[in-house]
Subunit: 309 residues, 3 copies
């Protein structure tokens, strides 16, 4: 079986069958990661360039680990210290790298749509590792794998996505994926951080009251407050945000049921999530990170020429 | 066959036989790069350190790809975040790295002559990846390979090198190589950017009129305007430079013949080269990039102990 | 034989038997490094993350070389350009990396005790590559290997540690190691840079006069003046430091005996050590660097699961 697409630019372009294939393949790779020897020869002699035009720890390392465990050769490129600062266009930078006969590109960029632009111009398979406020497809896939492991199926699962919906590519990729896979979704956050059109476009519930959203859901996917993406002051202070939308132990205990807590990281402890929630048995945050490597191995493998051959 | 030199510090030190051997070996590696499996075991277990004291995207990645395709182990060193900022001397930095039993060093440095200085003091083979305004030998070799592929031979080929001749290590390495291989050369640019002694030293034509240079040549190697290397204002504005020395479609079409366009990159689009020229069928700019990996594999291979053994 | 400890956090935690085992194993790896093929398959398929929260050239490269020569897969993490700048806690950063199923962590951090904190919380083996002003155990081990090679045994060897004792994790690790292995130690430097409690804690001689210290010792381990760690002015000027505690040729020649000169690097030439001393036959500084790779291979190997299996 193969994917219906040559790139992984966003969940928007995937069919439910694509998503299922990615999750099943990730599950198989996850079994590999439990072994003492965590490496497979699947992508031996394939060269992958990690083009990170935006800072990242976990995503870059997660992809690099996935690549090395598939036995691929990896080249890291970060924007600082590069010809980008000499004024080169994005297309020129990438075309140059591709002329060196690179097989695949993993790319993070602050501009929404940057990987889509490149996909029109270059032959190598591209995986979007996050573009602006648009999509972060491997994050939605690892979230889906984590929810499936915990709750059996996404069909009918009640998921609340909580926080800064407007600036979050994680939220948007999750909205696409959960819609395609039959989950029910509520978005919850301050009115200023939930664009009206988005809730309508995805046909999801909007809830401004955190307690009500938590009482409703099976899973709370708590977003990071991304101060670095906000150009305007959209809520008053971090302390006030915490008072209205931060999740603490007392609130969770008062719900009378066990909901699952997720977070894409890095956590602002004491802002959107208290430590005694993040580190509790209800949290599957570290499982998400673990699943990230398996999901990225699956995406790389399914998009490689090895798979298509 | 082996090279007459233990290092690749500059084209100046090579014999015509050395250059031919490098180009032939690069041609063989280029065939490897067309295969689905682009890797050869030639330098397995050899450790190469890439010492980049100056920013670079394409050259660093090109060398790293060449090394990985030869199955060498690579270590990257960049000046920022290093003990260089703690005030260590260049010789101490390199001696330390060599005491760790590194086999080869690829080095870029802003000081002209830095790799020559090291070659006197250390036993490992050194490849100069660009030193100040002196030489950039692998660039001249990849330019030569690209011209040979397009025009059959360098003997008698008419090459115009256009732009900032004075600050260009690319120009200087090309002047050495083209002279040794029997090409005819014209340098063209504003009088302030063509040092008189250089034209005399290399016995090349000087032409201040761009149209005349293009009418004469088979190949135009268009240099990047390197604003970062100019301490004085040597031409008035980028717009005026573009009006006098920028190459556009209309100018090319008016020549009544097809000349080959080359550029070492990164391109300042709209300054020295317009986009409809850079991306046209006359341009072999991306072939140059592709040939860069093959040429660097050839240099690494021919200078390694593996070859000498 | 195995180490009595699961991590290498400091020399303080090692038994004399541990130290001997590490040195013997390093000696065996050093023989490997003399061969044309310097690689062994010992840690094939093991993934090691190098977490450097502080700048370093030689230590990071030395570890990376050690890892690659053991055939491990390596991932480099440096603080700049990471989620650390997004306000993530150290434990979150490391937990995330470990959720990706990393086998070992090599860590440098500006906070004394950072690796000890992590060792309490995470399952992977940790090697301390320098923590604040506390310990730098692999440096003390490579110093010990270098002294053993030169002088046969540490038992009864007279070692003077000279310079900024107070801010030096190198000094502290050496003090622990030399004490456990039966060497005699004198610390020498300006009174402001030798904390009284330290000399008492380690039961070592204190000598403020450089000439007297040199006349007494077999080996002078000369520390780097670490301007970056001093918050107060603890000596007047570098020139004055050099006049009182810098080691020059004339002083060495006047001793009437050959002492061994060591330095952890990077050297401030003309401050704590003159060039004609650093580069002389009495200096074993570059052997120290060479031994660094062997000692790190030994530590990685002995702490890996491969060894324990």
């Amino acid at each position: 079986m193969t994917l219906s697409t040559r790139h992984l630019l966003g969940i928007k372009d995937l069919t439910p069958q694509d998503i299922s294939l990615l999750l099943q393949t990730a599950q198989q790779f996850k079994e590999v990661l439990q072994r003492p020897i965590k490496k497979v020869p699947s992508l031996r002699d394939i060269t992958i360039v990690n083009l990170f035009f935006e800072n990242s720890t976990r995503t870059r390392i997660s992809f690099e680990l996935a690549e090395k465990r598939l036995s691929a050769d990896t080249i890291n490129f970060t924007a600082s210290g590069s010809s980008v600062s000499k004024g080169e266009t994005l297309l020129d930078t990438v075309n140059n790298i591709l002329s060196m006969k690179v097989d695949m590109v993993v790319m993070r960029h602050s501009a929404s749509g940057a990987p889509h632009f490149l996909a029109k111009h270059i032959p190598a398979a591209i995986i979007n590792a996050g573009d602006g406020i648009n999509e972060h497809p491997t994050q939605a896939l690892l979230d889906a794998l984590s929810m499936t492991e915990k709750h059996g199926s996404l069909e009918g699962l009640k998921v609340a996505i909580i926080g800064d919906i407007m600036h979050s590519r994680v939220a948007q990729s999750n909205l696409y994926l959960l819609g395609k896979m039959g989950a029910e979704v509520t978005v919850c956050g301050p009115p200023t951080l939930i664009p009206k059109h988005l809730a309508e476009a995805f046909n999801v519930r909007v809830e401004y009251n955190l307690r009500k959203a938590l009482e409703w859901c099976d899973v709370a996917n708590v977003l990071r407050i991304q101060l670095e993406r906000q150009n305007q002051v959209l809520f008053s202070t971090l302390r006030e945000y915490n008072l209205s939308y931060g999740i603490n132990r007392r609130l969770l205990d008062s719900l009378g049921k066990d909901i699952t807590i997720m977070h894409p990281g890095p956590i602002n402890r004491g802002v959107e999530l208290d430590s005694d929630v993040a580190d509790s048995g209800q949290s599957i945050i570290l499982q998400q990170v673990e699943n990230g490597v398996a999901v990225r191995m699956a995406a790389l493998y399914l998009l490689s020429n090895r798979q298509q051959a």
